[in-house]
């Protein structure tokens, strides 16, 4: 009996170590396959090179880095105001009956697969942008703008979920104190409760940034995917994630390694964002 207890404890411990092992393996294999290519191409040529021409062995991913940053920034501009205000509405304004309908709806929004979002974007947002802006700005609808709108919608549930729980975690006495001083409901909520939930809200936004920068399938379908420097928000763009999926199917040798190196760059971005997120979250607890 004693032996069985001890053995099972080690089995549990072993399982707990699987996630450590997974992270270690992911780091080792990504870096081992990506870094040599980066070295061969030259770190600066790779990261800051403005031309991506695999046929001529020119691998510069600067356009894709910019593409990812532009699209993510656009998603933040679209998604954060709406998401934040919706979170405030859910936490402080929403009648209980309505909440029971809206909340599962937002959970559902989080569960819709990204291909479905992408397909929706391709069939609805792209034609709409084309007809609305083609005459004034040009472009065929597949653009930074389109991708930003779609990604903005996709990060809504992330931002709403985290911001709402951060707002709900603020002690009720903050709100009551403000009311007692004569503030209206809106003033009390927006000038005392929301600022008190600041770091939680920031954590939600940072997580949203992580989602947007890592999103692949939806962006591929609406962003146009031209591997060139961005020319305007109504022109097409290719992101880091799109670069990997589009070309990995037929890439060989250095081209393939350059794509894995693209993944490494993306991975480093995500690690930075994750670190930021956990710092913000820890701040909220104290």
């Amino acid at each position: 009996m004693k032996v069985k207890e001890k053995v099972m404890e080690y089995v549990f411990l072993l399982c707990a170590c699987v996630s450590i092992l997974a992270v270690a393996l992911i780091c080792i294999f990504l870096f081992a396959n990506g870094l040599p290519a980066m070295k061969e191409i030259g770190v600066f040529d790779f990261l800051l090179g403005k031309r991506w021409k695999p046929g001529n062995d020119i691998y510069g991913i600067f356009p894709m880095i910019l593409g990812s940053i532009y699209v993510t920034a656009g998603a933040i501009i679209v998604g954060v105001p709406i998401g934040l205000l919706t979170a405030v509405y859910l936490a402080k304004f929403c009648p209980a009956g309505l909440y029971k309908i809206i909340k599962p709806g937002i959970d559902l929004l989080a569960g819709i697969p990204s291909v479905v979002y992408g397909f929706f974007g391709l069939c609805v947002i792209v034609p709409a942008v084309r007809t609305l802006f083609k005459d004034t700005f040009g472009g065929n609808g597949q653009s930074i703008f389109t991708a930003s709108v779609l990604l903005g919608i996709m990060i809504l549930p992330t931002i709403i979920g985290i911001a709402e729980s951060a707002i709900r975690a603020v002690p009720e006495r903050y709100y009551q104190g403000a009311l007692a001083l004569g503030a209206t409901h809106e003033r009390a909520v927006f000038l005392t409760v929301v600022p008190a939930a600041k770091s939680g809200i920031m954590a939600g936004i940072v997580l949203g940034i992580g989602r947007a920068i890592g999103e692949t399938m939806a962006v591929i379908m609406v962003a146009g995917n031209q591997a060139r420097m961005p020319k305007g928000i109504f022109q097409g763009i290719r992101t880091l994630t799109a670069n990997i999926v589009i070309e990995m199917g037929y890439a060989t040798d250095l081209h393939r390694e350059a794509l894995i190196a693209t993944g490494v760059v993306l991975f480093v971005f995500i690690l930075i964002i994750n670190t930021l997120f956990s710092i913000l979250k820890r701040k909220e607890v104290h």
């Binding site: 304004f93 809206i102 599962p104 927006f190």
Partner: protein, 306 residues
């Protein structure tokens, strides 16, 4: 302030006790007249919520309306070919891949949560490392998992583009989800359960399996259901690990195409838009069902705690 006073006077004159923090619609209106800024903020906030709800409703209704009429029996033929673009093989593949991934990830996820909650002592170094790595895992985008799976499972382990490689890749991807929800479910089991079990002379192992785990089942289930939802909707991690062959595999080493990958292929080709809508409907319905199930399980858990 005025409102409170008015309410008090009201209560006084009527001679009956009325809640003083109650604000009638008329009072609210008057207050908004005095504070137009507050009114503007209220409108903005409600508008944002309205936009969120409308966008959600529009996406779902649009896809249902466009897709449901195209759900023809052709789409559910046994064999896939470029004529009928049948999704049945992909549906079966999705089920197989999800089942295989869950078989791999559920025991590991539950066991590691058991270690973290029941066995590890406070301030255990391993626990904090596991926490950090699990958090890192949950932030990694699926395309990076796809790359890793392609290098490691397909290449280094030599599984090729196969059901097994795909299942292993998504298993790692959903591991943090299963772990975290199980951990929360275990933590919510009251300590008195454990003490009672120990008091009756049960060992640690028996306490965990016979007392703690059964009362945490709804929470664990809701985590597993969430993980299922992520696997079903996954595309980027599977294209280069499980591959894109639209046939039911004969062994775990055969390449498979899941429903989400199938949907991506359809919309990429751009030839079968209507069928793509129909596929989207099936995916959407699966996701809605999964969400309802997980909500149901979570409600079960909270009802139990009361």
């Amino acid at each position: 302030m005025e409102n409170v006073k008015a309410a008090m006077e009201n209560a006084g004159s009527a001679g009956k006790a009325e809640a003083i923090n109650y604000q009638s619609v008329k009072q609210k209106f008057q207050s908004y007249l005095k504070h137009p800024g507050s009114f503007a903020v209220y409108i903005l906030t409600s508008l944002a919520a309205l936009i969120t709800v409308l966008v959600l409703g529009f996406i779902i209704v649009y896809i249902l309306v466009k897709g449901v009429p195209h759900l023809t029996p052709d789409l559910f033929a046994w064999e896939y070919n470029s004529e009928n673009v049948s999704m049945l093989p992909s549906i079966i593949n999705t089920l197989l891949l999800t089942a295989l991934a869950l078989v791999i990830v559920v025991p590991i996820g539950i066991f590691s949560a058991i270690y973290m909650v029941e066995y590890a002592k406070k301030g255990n170094k391993i626990v904090s490392i596991v926490r950090v790595t699990a958090e890192t895992l949950s932030g990694i985008p699926s395309i990076v998992y796809g790359l890793f799976g392609m290098i490691f499972f397909v290449g280094v382990c030599n599984f090729g583009n196969s059901l097994l490689a795909g299942a292993l890749t998504v298993a790692i991807m959903v591991l943090p989800t299963v772990m975290r929800t199980t951990e929360e479910a275990l933590l919510s089991v009251p300590n008195s359960y454990r003490e009672g079990s120990f008091g009756l002379g049960a060992g640690k192992l028996r306490t965990v399996f016979k007392v703690v785990l059964p009362s945490a089942v709804p929470g664990i289930l809701s985590g597993i259901i969430l993980a299922t939802g992520r696997i079903v909707g996954e595309t980027a991690a599977l294209i280069y690990t499980a591959g894109t062959v639209a046939k039911v595999p004969e062994s775990v080493f055969d390449s498979t195409r899941t429903l989400a990958v199938h949907m991506y292929n359809l919309s990429k080709e751009g030839l079968n838009t209507n069928q793509a809508y129909a596929t989207a409907v099936v995916l959407l319905i699966v996701v809605i069902l999964i969400n309802m199930l997980s909500n149901f399980a979570a409600r079960k858990l909270s009802a139990k705690q009361k």
